[in-house]
């Protein structure tokens, strides 16, 4: 499915409405409208980001390290508030939600954290059962079966009684993925779901994210660096650089793009619009003098 034509897919947000066709193609569920945010006054992480995620779609947000991808997920969870602009989920502004509304909003979400964030004092089984125990009145035998189903989906049924410290990094991430989908959330947020996975797990997890999205009618936002795997599963991609949306488009458009930013990112080139080196006040010669 193509949401934008190749001709306008990679133009800057200021030059044309960024994702008009995407938002018009389906009912938008998640919207960021001209959102800016900075953890300190001196350094803006996001500067006027506008993006739309339609209901039922799997959208990837890509960009270099520290460009503000995870910040977008935190804004959607209501853990931080935008300094300007609007973050809307289901038409409701996240910033204006009171405590009750925020908890109701979060019950619709599932988030996979960058480093898993598994509860280290619990077993794998208890980690996945945690949201079920907290938010449902299901009997223990039903919870047991549900947890085993989730673990089976990520191929780790045999680890149910292990502690997170006994898992490898990739396995911990798969367990975290199982916990993310424990309550079949309406909106799934994945922060680097492919990091640290071996090729087999990577492919399985990628397909699982896609299948879950389609089978459960979820809406998913995927923050990742893994462009090859993402291009196999996502509907639409936003590229973020220096806190701005610099390019966007569907998979076919991205693959066909001649935009220098997209090409550098897709091909992994060291030279291009994205700087590899963090800015320094001194030259290399001065540092070695």
């Amino acid at each position: 499915m193509r949401f934008m034509t190749a001709a306008n897919a990679f133009s800057s947000p200021a030059a044309s409405p960024p994702n008009r066709e995407l938002s018009e193609s389906c009912e938008p569920l998640v919207e960021l409208k001209d959102v800016s945010f900075g953890y300190t006054r001196d350094r803006q992480i996001l500067s006027g980001v506008t993006l739309t995620v339609p209901k039922g779609k799997l959208v990837a947000v890509m960009g270099g390290s520290g460009c503000g991808k995870t910040t977008i997920l935190r804004l959607l969870c209501g853990q931080i508030r935008a300094s300007s602009g609007e973050v809307l989920v289901g038409g409701q502004s996240v910033a204006t939600m009171d405590t009750e509304q925020m908890f109701a909003h979060r019950r619709r979400l599932g988030m996979l954290f960058q480093f898993g964030a598994l509860f280290t004092d619990m077993t794998v089984f208890d980690n996945i059962a945690f949201p079920m125990h907290e938010h449902t009145e299901l009997p223990d035998d039903i919870i047991h079966d549900l947890v085993m189903m989730k673990l089976n989906a990520v191929g780790l049924r045999g680890t149910a009684q292990l502690k997170p410290s006994e898992l490898s990094g990739g396995m911990a991430r798969r367990v975290a993925l199982a916990r993310t989908i424990a309550l079949d959330p309406q909106i799934a947020l994945y922060d680097e779901p492919f990091a640290g996975l071996d090729p087999i797990s990577l492919s399985v997890v990628g397909q699982l994210i896609r299948r879950l999205n389609d089978a459960l009618g979820m809406t998913s936002i995927l923050v990742t660096h893994d462009i090859a795997e993402s291009l196999k599963i996502v509907d639409y991609i936003y590229f973020i650089s220096e806190g701005r949306v610099v390019a966007q488009g569907d998979v076919a458009s991205i693959k066909a793009s001649t935009d220098p930013f997209v090409r550098q990112f897709v091909d992994g080139e060291p030279d291009g619009p994205v700087r590899f080196h963090y800015p320094s006040s001194k030259t290399l010669a001065e540092d070695f003098a």
């Binding site: 969870c77 979060r106 964030a117 598994l118 945690f130 907290e134 938010h135």
Partner: protein, 269 residues
């Protein structure tokens, strides 16, 4: 003139920053405390969470508390004998050991040990949960970390410490008995009889209990707050753990002085 002005500006700026940070931390602390109180009923609705923390903070501290109590009681008896024998009052050793323990050493030393062993563990655990985003994960799952993580640990500490203090005093008295009666040879009847006659339930024992309850609130609150407020880095958790032990120790000793003034007065009028 200008360098001097710059120096003054720097000092004032540093002072201002310190005051602002301290005020912000105090404000955060007050909000944290209110949230803790607000979420406490939810914790009591799930007593298994508090029981788990009583085990972690209380039961696992038993060995250090009981052993310390025993040795302190034994030392008290030895030191007490040295003094009492000069006045021919060795039969009063039971009174000396019991009053020292139930009024002062029991609540104070048990609280210091509790802060070092359980308080530091609570701070480190909550701090590490923050560092590894476990608290954030709970928030995103619509679970309030203050209700699920902080409040059970706080109440687990509040319930555990008075019980540990009582056990500390009991072991201390038994240590005093071992040294005084079994080792030195003081009459056992005099040891227990004088203790029973001189130790007042209300004035001595209950005041000791009140002290241990106050210390329990102070140490548990400091421990959970420092953990929750820790910088989410290895250094931040380490610094928070240190602050828990230092602040708790100072708070225990300062509160002990204040409570002693109100309870026993001594020469103060």
């Amino acid at each position: 003139m200008k360098p001097a002005l710059n120096a003054v500006t720097r000092v004032l700026s540093s002072l201002g920053a310190t005051v602002i940070n301290a005020t912000a931390r105090a404000g955060f602390g007050a909000r944290f405390f209110m949230a803790l109180i607000r979420q406490s009923p939810a914790s009591f609705m799930r007593p298994q969470l508090i029981l788990k923390e009583i085990y972690q903070a209380g039961v696992l501290s038993l060995i250090i508390v009981l052993m310390s109590g025993l040795f302190i009681g034994m030392v008290l008896a030895l030191q007490g004998y040295e003094t009492l024998v000069r006045f021919g009052a060795t039969e009063s050793m039971g009174v000396l050991v019991a009053l020292s323990l139930v009024r002062e050493l029991g609540p104070v030393v048990a609280a210091l040990l509790f802060a070092s062993r359980a308080g530091s563990a609570i701070t480190a655990e909550i701090g590490l949960m923050k560092t590894t985003e476990q608290l954030s994960a709970m928030e995103v799952m619509a679970v309030d970390p203050i209700a699920r993580v902080v409040s059970p640990r706080f109440w687990g500490g509040v319930i555990s410490l008075p019980l540990l203090s009582a056990l500390f005093s009991t072991m201390g008295i038994y240590g005093g008995y071992l040294v005084g009666v079994r080792l030195i040879g003081i009459d056992g009847g005099a040891f227990w009889g004088q203790m029973q006659a001189a130790v007042d339930w209300q004035h001595d024992v209950m005041n000791g209990v009140v002290k241990s309850v106050v210390f329990a609130f102070a140490v548990s609150l400091i421990a959970v707050f420092e953990g929750y407020d820790a910088q989410p880095t290895a250094e931040g958790v380490s610094a928070a753990t240190t602050r828990t032990v230092v602040t708790s120790a100072l708070a225990i000793l300062a509160l002990d002085f204040v409570l002693t003034v109100f309870m026993f007065r001594g020469g103060l009028n």
